[in-house]
Amino acid sequence: MPPSITGRDLRGSVAIVGVAESNRIGIRPDASALTLHAEAAKNALADAGLGIGDVDGLFTAGVTSVQLGEYLGIVPRYSDGTSVGGCSFIIHVEHAMLALEAGIIKVALITHGESGRSRIGGTGAGHRGIPPDSPQGQFEAPFGTMGPPTLFSLPATRHMHQYGTTREQMAEVAVSTRRWAAMHPMAMMKEPITVEDVMASRPVCWPYSLFMCCLVTDAGGAVVMTRADMAKQLARSPVYVLGTGEGTEHNMVSMMADMTSSQAARLSGKAAFDMAGVSHAEIDVAQLYDAFAFTPMLALEDLGFVAPGESGPFVEGGRTGPGGDFPMNTNGGGLSYTHSGMYGMFTLIELTRQLRGEAGDRQVPDANVGIAHGPGGMFSAAGTLIAGNASAL
């Protein structure tokens, strides 16, 4: 047997050197999905002090790398179109790390762009529909399951049954996240809300009410990565990749082996923590994809921050909000900042800003190590990044 590979040698070998959103996010009837990709790519490269001509590795989801390469006018040496839902871009960080460290590429560009609200450009998750002869078309869709609000909520109900998790606890997540959004200049929803407001908002799909569901917006985002040696020569303080993980499980949520725990997330989180060699107590800030209020709660359990079933009591009392002892989704999350469809990109952008110390009013003090994590599909896949600034190396 060859020695097992843990990835520890890769810790700190590459860094995030540029991040940005598209020029504006929220409601963008003026921009196609590809335009949102391109704006974000231009802005993230400018943030890094690099140009499009430096890019030799292209990573994207929702559109193909050839659609994007044509639009950007580049011919990348290497591309990766892994597209397993919202966590795809977090997974791309792992794939970019491997290509950078193998010496195949020097500059990786990861982009996201989705016209989720205005539906311009016909690309992105949910635009293609479900073929009626696919497994999902035959065995889920005929029961009126179309869309995340119905499918993503099934695990929440099982968790409530098994552990006594309450809708009020889910509402706490929405309230804390909104308080962070109030401090983000690009956030869509900033007005303070209470648990009572969340509970009283209109029912979408029980157990979720409207304020427990993510926004539907138009937005782009991009990340630029290089090897650590090159990162030190660039414009911004590098944010080093300490650990990465990914996992894929089912496609249909009805095939999820245990609706109270995602195998993909457990696999992904463990791999990232093993590679990073950090403890949970060392995580200063967490960006956990919040498609719905319960989504990050399950991540808290699957990543090992709390024991199975304990995320409900954990999020009570504003713990994940500003001033709480577990700052989570400090950009305002998919619930209040933006959610164009595949939100995972924005966990990377905010984690980077926090670890650079440039998050303005919402900056978490002494944020040196942090985690970005998300599911893809209906808890179908997962991606995890643990990153740190120079003090974490």
Partner: protein
Amino acid sequence: MLQRCNACGQAYYYPRPICPHCMSDDVHWFQASGKGLVYSFVICHRSQPGFEVPYVIAVVELEEGPRMMTNLVGIEPDPELIKCDSPVEVVYDDVTSDITLPKFRPVEQGQP
């Protein structure tokens, strides 16, 4: 009807010619009991073609082991009335002349 693998003995859903547990292609169809337990459910308030809101989407764990997506019928769409792990039985909904969907209704407590 469900499928069962002759090699590993496990029943599975959805249908496919290769067993998802052991990859054997030695599988057969058998008559299922039509009984199960509610594994999880949601109550959808968003209108969908062919459905009158609110309606209940559920995953039922069949007596034979596999789980399947379905709808609960014959019960009010009220979260106070529907319980996970409560017994249900199949009822067939002839949606069109070609397509029949297996849906589930509550089994009265004490009934066999």
